[in-house]
Amino acid sequence: MLLQQLANGIAMGSVYALVSLGLTMVYGILRILHVAHAGVYTLGAYIGLFSFRLVGDFWVSLLIGMAGSAVAGYLIERFLYSPLLHLPRIAPLIVSIGLFIALEEAFRIVAGPHTLTYNARIGIGDLSIGSFRLTETQILILFVTFAALIFLWAFLTKTRTGLAMRACAQDAETASSFGVNVKAIIAVNFLFGSAMAGAAGVLIGVYDNQVWPTMGAIPAYKALAIVVLGGLGNIPGTVLAAIGVGLAETFFIGILAIPFPRDAVAFIAMILVLMFKPYGLLGKA
């Protein structure tokens, strides 16, 4: 049972990681809390679902969902955040919250208030050893998350653009004086982060077989807690925090059987970390 719960928890944590990464990357470079990121996540699920219904192939729908989210993320940066960057950070935050609410309503109007099903067969098959089962969708989630993390790591450490991205996160002005095109780097940042959120939306859509207009509501605030937990802007810290929250939720429910709502776990952890390690799990002062 422990093994099974471990699989359940890591799968959930992986999805949290995919959603939170974009958020932490945006914060790292722009110092904006990008609440509408959860709207991009839902958008990814809907685009993936509708392209799945058109094309009938899961992998294609995953890629289209990611691409659609990436474009949406880029447009949000270009037309909403970019013109507001000279204002105090509260201005883009308000815009972001407003946009998130508008997106939820838009999904409801376009796709209807009902839960839609994302009934895709991936074609990997379940893995079962004794009473332990790693379901097809769990394998899928682990695989996609792992691939995304490897890609991100390689990109950030092995390429010049990645280096520029890290430089911008540390100090955008200095990076700019060294000839880094900060605007382009910000755009790349949003494209990547949003594509990952889109992937998370598609994965959850398939994992739960449900896509609905307000599916971003809980990730919207849980991802914020995870990002703070990981140390704002800290990528390895965010991944660690996300997996940790996924596991903690699963263990509280499934092993300790403590009847408190799972969504509280991330916030309790956040409060504890802020009390004892105010810069996050891996953050530096």
Partner: protein
């Protein structure tokens, strides 16, 4: 010029007057019945079912000549599953629309806040499927809301009936319970547990999940699997129910899953897919009931809306028809309607033969249905009076 203007005013005024008189005339010609349901929002699928079914009932009544020659007019409102909205609707129905009776096609939240308003105004209301005890009961005065009647079961009654079936028919000895943490989930799982334990079965685990919001039931189900129960009693609405049966199947759980009326929706079958096969539910509609009232409703509903009717629709239809039936007997005086409802005896309802109302609570058999070939089919009917008689409140 001046004269022209005067003529204009006179014309305008008479047009207004005519319109007003026509309006009055119409008001006298029809019998107005109020109706509210969550037509948009998180429970939109149920709200639409209720609306569709009641409109079908309305059409039947009016096609048959209305009530004593008068057409019935349905005043419909969308409460969006929002109690504040429902309060405003109740006041509108009373003050502006001047209805003679009200049908609730909504959940407990909106229905229970309107109950004291209608009770105070002496306006009879029949609730289709709202389950909260305080719909028919005033907890502050500790007396029944005697203008409010309920066509659905109390959570405790339905839970007890499910347990009766689980233990007596399925011979389940070891049972795990997973339930949503709201009024309905708590009431139905408490009723289930009490009856199952009384009949000698053991409750291995009893877990509550957050409602609304929970989608990942794997941690709960993995824990249930560890205890290897004969049966899992699961309480939730169609989204939760579908996720539970689907994820249980994925985890390789073979125990029989027994759900309740919240599962009784085409959406459940759609989301759960093949995993729904063999799932048993306790509910308020028997699709295989041979009585014409049932079979006509099912086929007319399919013809009108091109989808299968569900429990919510059937219960709302019944609520509407119970009210219409009372008006047909005694006329449009709310007090007389209430008296007629109180005296209901052996009413041939779509969702079962209603023997009577006790403190506003319906007394009728509970239906046990099973999913077979992607449809709900009859499996059993629980009519043990010890189980289906609602407890007297004091």
């Amino acid at each position: 010029m001046r004269r022209l203007r005067l003529v204009g005013i006179v014309f305008g005024f008479s047009a207004f007057l005519l319109f007003f008189i026509a309006g009055l005339g119409q008001a006298q010609d029809t019998i107005k019945i109020g109706f509210f349901a969550p037509i948009t929002g998180p429970a939109a699928a149920d709200g639409m079912s209720a609306k569709h079914a009641v409109e079908l009932g309305l059409k039947e009544v009016n096609d048959a000549g209305g009530i004593k020659g008068k057409k019935v007019e349905l005043i419909t409102y969308d409460d969006r599953l929002n109690p504040q909205e429902a309060v405003a609707i109740a006041n509108k129905l009373l003050e502006r629309d001047k209805v003679v009776g009200v049908v609730s096609g909504s959940y407990s939240g909106p229905t229970r806040v309107t109950a004291p308003i209608f009770q105070k105004a002496g306006m009879p209301m029949v609730a289709g499927y709202a389950v909260h005890p305080d719909v028919t009961w005033d907890p502050t005065q500790k007396k029944p809301n005697d203008f409010i009647f309920r066509n659905g079961y109390l959570g405790e009654v339905e839970g007890a009936a499910a347990a009766e079936f689980a233990v007596k028919n399925l011979k389940a000895k070891k049972i795990s319970i997973i339930s949503m943490d709201n009024d309905f989930g708590r009431a139905i799982s408490a009723g289930f547990a009490a009856r199952a334990e009384k009949l000698g079965s053991a409750i291995l685990t009893k877990q509550m999940y957050k409602f609304p919001g929970e989608k990942d039931f794997r941690p709960f189900l993995t824990r249930i699997k560890e205890g290897n129960p004969d049966l899992i009693f699961a309480a939730g609405y169609y989204n939760e129910g579908a996720s539970i049966v689907r994820q249980a199947k994925e985890l390789g759980i073979t125990a029989q899953i027994l759900g309740e009326e919240g599962f009784d929706s085409p959406k459940f079958l759609e989301i759960a897919g093949p995993a729904a096969e063999g799932v048993i539910i306790a509910t308020n509609l028997d699709r295989d009931d041979p009585r014409p009232v049932v079979q006509n409703f099912l086929s007319n509903y399919r013809k009108a809306y091109n989808e299968d009717a569900d429990m919510v629709g059937a219960s709302s239809y019944d609520a509407f028809m119970i009210l219409v039936n009372a008006i047909a007997k005694v006329g449009t005086d709310p007090k007389a309607i209430q008296k007629a409802l109180l005296e209901t005896k052996d009413y041939n309802g779509l969702t079962g033969m209603i023997s009577r109302f006790i403190q506003g609570e319906v007394v009728k058999p509970v239906q046990i249905q099973v999913v077979k070939g992607g449809k709900f089919r009859r499996l059993a009917v629980i009519d043990n009076p010890e189980v289906i008689t609602p407890p007297t409140k004091q």
